[in-house]
């Protein structure tokens, strides 16, 4: 990995530690800059928060910590920032844009190699992920069955998503 890439990753980490989307935490190993572990709480307004019913009743802020905890892994390729970082969900999640296998990879929008631009930053990637949890991107879905579910039977989708959260995202 070039020193340019290292410098850039360090810079981005510094930026992230100042200004991270709420409910996110980056675990960063200085020995291995290319792999970031991110712990993310399911946004309260999404089915990925643990107690959706409660979330309706109470102040959202008090429920911030009630969301499911999702582990993500961000891997930076060697020619970062010319290639996009690879984002994987380590926690299983019922989501049209996250592959339903042990990789949990997501590949859409700016994360596609042909869409990626070097000026894009990790922090915008993190924002993108959070927004996707709130509002899945159906047109760009990896799991078409889940996307179908989401489109046609929202209640069923929400229920399954919460089930998965309870089961996997403690």
């Amino acid at each position: 990995m070039s020193s340019v890439a290292k410098k850039r990753i360090l810079k981005e980490y510094a930026e992230c530690s100042n200004d991270l989307p709420s409910g996110m935490k980056v675990i960063f190993d200085e020995a291995n800059l290319t792999k970031w572990d991110v712990v993310m709480e399911g946004p309260a307004e999404s089915p990925y928060a643990v107690c959706l019913e409660l979330a309706m009743c109470f102040d959202k802020r008090s429920l911030m910590h009630q969301g499911g905890h999702f582990k993500l892994e961000i891997n930076f390729p060697n020619d970062y920032p010319f290639k996009p970082p690879v984002v994987n969900f380590k926690t299983k999640v019922y989501h049209p844009n996250v592959s339903n296998d042990d990789k949990g990879s997501m590949c859409l929008g700016m994360l596609r190699p042909e869409e990626w631009k070097p000026p894009n930053k990790v922090i915008s990637v993190l924002h993108l992920i959070q927004n996707l949890l709130v509002e899945p991107n159906i047109d760009d879905a990896i799991e078409t069955s889940i996307a179908n579910d989401y489109k046609t039977n929202r209640a069923e989708f929400n229920k399954t998503a919460q089930d998965w959260v309870k089961r996997y995202a403690k």
Binding site: K7, E12, F82, K83
Partner: protein
């Protein structure tokens, strides 16, 4: 005697003089440093081989190629890795490296990137398929790059940065445009190529004269190794390493502040500390010690305060008993005050119990003061004296008033008397005057014997009438006499009648 702090490995093969005979200075300096320095360095390091070059000593021994020319070559600063003091404006930041532009390049689509960043970007793209990293617009790689506005270059040059050699001890800070000059010419801490040929590493300019420092040294105790050239930088760290980390250094048990005598190499001490009750208590005792230290630090000011109060007390006592204060100690002053002080002036005043110890003698342990502290005692003393003084002041005021009244009364009486006296004096004066004029008039008016005869006659007739006719005739005669006299002042005649 412990082993020499540096053991050289491999040992010097050839005496220094032979080997260094034809060599230029830097190399002989190398040998000198390597051999002589051990005594000056405290920590125990053993010297290993340079990583990818023969040992400096071996180099010398074989009379190997001389050092590079004396003129050392400074590495130009890497502008891309500068440390900026202020956060630069986002407009000046390259989208690829996220740092302010270095040698900015302007693309036809009006996007800017660092020259290096852009070439990195092009390297990842297929030939003939280059695009702008920002807008993905197609680019012709052979096209002349556009001119970058001067103002942009100026703004970039005006960004303030730290010297890239900050970690070697340089504290220079200035505009980015000056970095190159500073590093290439002025900075004492710039990295230069190692003076010894065959060594590919760099050392700071200040270390240039010391020869190749790129062999590893090891902490003799625990085999952790660092580069000799880094010892300068890590010297303090190494000391810390010896003091707190190195598992093979002899260290004392934590409990030694409570009296644990165990002192072994650190590994064993750590094991010992798990079981040593004194080590367990050590944090508590250390805390107590710091508190003790704090308390002792506070005693100093308090002592000064006591001294001040004592002096104040002395001066008050002096004012109260000027005669006694010369005699020295307060104690005998107190013991005698009942006899020497007149009892009517300060009848009920007693100083507090004089049994507190002398302040001069610091014998607090043997004679505990009767009060909580000397300061308390002094304060009560001070307070009672203050009350006494104010009481005396009131009494003085009162008696002054009384005296004033007395004097005033006396004065009034005396003034009356004086008025009477002066009245009486006036009467006497008038009488005398009258008598004088009576006596002088006849001689003055007729002169000679007739005047004398007249006056005799008048006197005799006067005497006759007084004896013959009593009061009435006497007044008659007086009137006649008065008629003959020059007219008198009214006040005189009335006076005469009333007083005489």
């Amino acid at each position: 005697m412990e082993s020499p702090p540096f053991s050289l490995e491999p040992p010097p093969l050839v005496p220094r003089r032979e080997s260094g005979a034809g060599l230029p200075d830097p190399l002989s300096a190398t040998a000198g440093e390597a051999v002589l320095n051990p005594d000056s360095r405290r920590n125990s390091f053993s010297v290993g081989r340079p990583p990818n070059s023969p040992s400096p000593l071996a180099l010398m021994a074989t009379g190997s190629p001389p050092a590079r020319p004396q003129r050392y070559k400074v590495q130009p600063p890497d502008l891309a890795s500068l440390d900026y003091i202020d956060t630069p404006a986002p407009q000046l930041i390259c989208g690829i490296c996220q740092s302010p532009y270095v040698l900015p390049v302007r693309l036809p689509c009006d996007h800017y990137f660092c020259k290096d960043c852009l070439s990195h970007h092009f390297a990842t793209q297929d030939a003939g398929n280059k695009s702008c990293p920002m807008c993905r617009g197609k680019l012709d790689i052979n096209q002349e790059s556009l001119e970058v506005p001067k103002i942009m270059q100026d703004m970039l040059d005006a960004l303030r940065v730290r010297c890239p050699n900050t970690r070697f001890g340089c504290s220079w800070e200035d505009e980015r445009g000056n970095v190159r000059t500073h590093v290439m010419i002025y900075c004492k801490h710039s990295l230069v190529e190692c003076p010894v040929a065959g060594c590919d590493l760099y050392c700071t300019q200040t270390d240039y004269g010391k020869g190749c420092l790129h062999y590893t040294v090891q902490c003799e105790k625990c085999q952790g190794s660092i580069y000799q050239s880094d010892v300068e930088i890590l010297f303090l760290d190494m000391k810390k390493h010896m003091d707190s980390d190195c598992p093979n250094t002899v260290a004392a048990c934590q409990g030694n502040i409570v009296g644990c005598k165990v002192a072994e190499i650190r590994k064993d001490v750590v094991a010992h500390e798990r079981t040593c009750p004194m080590a367990l208590m050590a944090p508590y005792f250390r805390e107590q010690q710091t508190r003790l230290g704090l308390a002792e630090a506070r005693i100093g000011p308090l002592e000064r305060k006591v001294g001040l109060l004592e002096r104040g007390l002395d001066s008050i006592t002096y004012k109260l008993y000027p005669a006694k204060s010369r005699r020295g100690t307060l104690e005998n002053l107190y013991s005698e005050d009942t006899t020497s002080v007149p009892s009517d002036s300060i009848p009920e005043f007693r100083l507090p119990d004089p049994s507190f110890p002398q302040w001069g003698s610091n014998d607090r342990a043997t004679a505990p003061p009767p009060f909580d502290s000397q300061i308390d005692h002094l304060l009560t003393l001070h307070e009672s004296l203050r009350e006494e003084v104010s009481r005396i002041k009131m009494e003085l005021n009162e008696s002054e008033g009384r005296t004033n009244m007395l004097v005033f009364n006396e004065n009034a009486r005396i003034r009356d008397d004086m008025l009477h006296m002066s009245g009486a004096l006036n009467n006497v004066r008038a009488q005398v005057h009258w008598m004088m004029s009576e006596k002088l008039r006849p001689s003055a008016s007729s002169g000679g014997s007739t005047a004398a005869a007249d006056s005799n006659k008048a006197a005799s007739s006067n005497g006759n009438t007084r004896s013959g006719t009593q009061g009435a005739s006497h007044s008659m005669a007086a009137r006649t006499a008065a008629a003959r006299l020059p007219p008198r002042r009214l006040s005189d005649s009335t006076r005469q009648e009333t007083k005489l």
